[in-house]
Amino acid sequence: MDRALRRRIEARFGEVLTGPVRQRHDETELRLAPGDVTTVMRALHDEPDLRFRFLADLCGVDTGLVMQVVYHLWSDSTPDWLRVIADGLPRDDPRVPSVTFLWKGAEWMEREAYDMFGITFEGNRDLRRIYMPPDYTSFPLRKDFYLADDAARSPGAGVRHMERTHAPRNATKTSLLRHAKGA
């Protein structure tokens, strides 16, 4: 944990942060509103005492209530990974500015987040589906997208295999019945 980085970030971005700067293990986490992404990322990238020149990862997250876009940055000025979370994107129309003006390589990662979550990155020139076919209409990694596999229709649906009360060989007639009815 790099306490100095936390102080630096709090001093520099104090007014735009939407939550406390959290630190755990070798990670520092800051949260901001999607509207501030452009200015904060540019400052993190350019300012000589921050120098976050390296975008380690970009991904979307669906918390079930809101969408988030999570950036991981690396700098030689700190031993921590910096996690920037653009928080509170509405689930019906998630929008966030693109960071392709700083890292052209974010283009495909943003395409992936668009493909999987439907997050629109404003300013990305090539925001089309990357994995799923072009005529696909849903967003598979959203939390309201259920896996339509065989297990979902099986008697064991909804039962975590490790939480079953009986191993199959010990299963009594009653528990088998219960499973057969799908209860």
């Binding site: 690396w74 994995y131 997208f145």
Partner: protein, 409 residues
């Protein structure tokens, strides 16, 4: 050839719930729908004297199932558009529906030539979530097996590289080297390719006698064998002349393209996760981070050869410093980490392999993001290619060393 551009769909006459798709027999490079983005419109508009050429998804040089639409002017590539998704399995979604131990074995087939490096960041991320202390012997075994696999992966890279340029001999040699290592790891882990060896809190099983004797046997001639393999190509004038100056990328562009690993270091940036963000027992080991300044295909190729030497150094040190003790921390079978987020990255043979895990307090990961370096590297082909010949597409692509299993997830 199966259709990949979706054909017209209609309901089946037998069962209206079933939707049938008409077969599209011919591969049209231009998609049968209006352009969706600015860039797509720009790409699919032909200039004077230009034409499209469809390469893949069954092309032998695309290292898997990748389709690339090339826009060519004569024999010169002016632009290209990689089309992904032919190998997409939805691993991230599968992991969200598996528990923490199960999630790890979904990750093996991502980078199938160096699959330990997919498990490694995942177990590291979960260990961070759980605040587990990994026994030092387990860390050493992880480093040892990981570096062995790095040697195998780079050997295979060398063979593929030559194969894509039309040389058939090196791949046979590099498969011999890789096979020795893979058999060795097979005796350690029980599997030849998809090891599923790293566990949360350690590794599955201690070093055994067969592995150690194979390893000792291999170590005595590893250096000579490596030199012999290197001599196959490095003194080949055709190979060197063709590779030099091809697909050049400078330092700033490499950073802007989010490149990592050997591709970034070949452009002169000494970023290696093992040093710049140390994990496991790498701080205790003595090794160099080779870099090169040219940033072309030859530099990327030579840099990987230099890395093999460093890996051999690390393996040697691991064997000498290997402590005694347990190889796995005691953990309950059902893991429920506290709610939280963790990010862990390792240096795989292709670059930074990272996992970002979110726990919500249940026994399944709430979200598991897989960051694959091949995915990021593949998009820079579009930046490196314009101005080169069609035949060099394969050379540039091979020098970036993408693994389609990881690209498509």
């Amino acid at each position: 050839m199966t259709a990949t551009i979706p054909g017209r769909r209609h309901a089946s006459e037998d069962d209206p719930r079933v939707i049938l798709e008409e077969q599209v027999g011919v591969f049209e490079p231009v998609p049968p729908f209006p352009p969706r983005t600015e860039r797509e419109a720009e790409f699919y508009t032909l200039g004077d004297g230009e034409m499209f050429l469809n390469m893949g998804p069954q092309h032998p040089s695309t290292h898997g199932v990748l389709r690339v639409v090339l826009k060519i002017n004569g024999e010169v590539v002016t632009d290209l558009d990689p089309v992904l998704g032919y190998l997409h399995r939805g691993v991230e979604k599968l992991c969200e529906n598996a528990d923490y131990h199960q999630a790890i074995c979904y990750l093996d087939p991502l980078e199938y030539v160096s699959s330990l490096f997919c498990e490694w960041p995942a177990v590291m991320a979960f260990e961070k979530l759980l605040d587990v202390e990994v026994p030092r012997r387990a860390e050493y075994i992880r480093v040892l097996s990981g570096e062995l696999l790095r040697v195998a992966s780079h050997a295979l890279f060398m063979g593929w590289m030559a194969l894509d340029l039309g040389g058939l001999t090196p791949i046979l040699w590099s498969f011999i080297e890789r096979d020795e290592i893979v058999e060795m790891l097979g005796s350690l882990t029980g599997a030849r390719m998809l090891f599923n060896y790293y566990r949360i809190g350690g590794v599955n099983g201690d070093l055994n006698h067969e592995f150690m004797s194979r390893l000792g046997d291999w170590m005595t001639r590893a250096t000579e064998q490596h030199e012999a393999n290197v001599r196959l190509l490095n003194e080949n004038e055709i190979f060197v002349r063709r590779m030099r100056g091809l697909g050049q990328v400078d330092r700033e562009t490499a950073l802007r393209m989010c490149m990592t690993g050997p591709n970034l270091r070949a452009a002169g940036v000494p970023f290696d996760v093992r040093r710049s963000h140390p994990y496991s027992v790498y701080p205790e080991l003595d090794f160099d981070i080779p870099t090169r300044d040219e940033g072309d295909c030859l530099a990327r190729y030579l840099l990987r050869l230099d890395e093999v030497k460093q890996s051999l150094r690390i393996i040697d040190q691991c064997l000498h410093q290997m402590p005694d003790g347990p190889v796995i921390a005691k953990l309950p079978r059902l893991l429920r980490p506290r709610p939280g987020r963790s990010y862990a990255a390792v240096e795989s043979p292709r670059g930074q392999y990272a996992i970002y895990g979110i726990s919500d307090g249940t026994d399944q990961p709430f979200r598991m993001r897989i960051h694959d370096p091949s995915f990021v590297h593949l998009q820079s082909v579009g930046l490196l290619m314009p101005g080169h010949l069609i035949a060099d597409t394969m050379a540039v692509m091979a020098s970036l060393d993408p693994i389609m299993g990881g690209v498509d997830k």
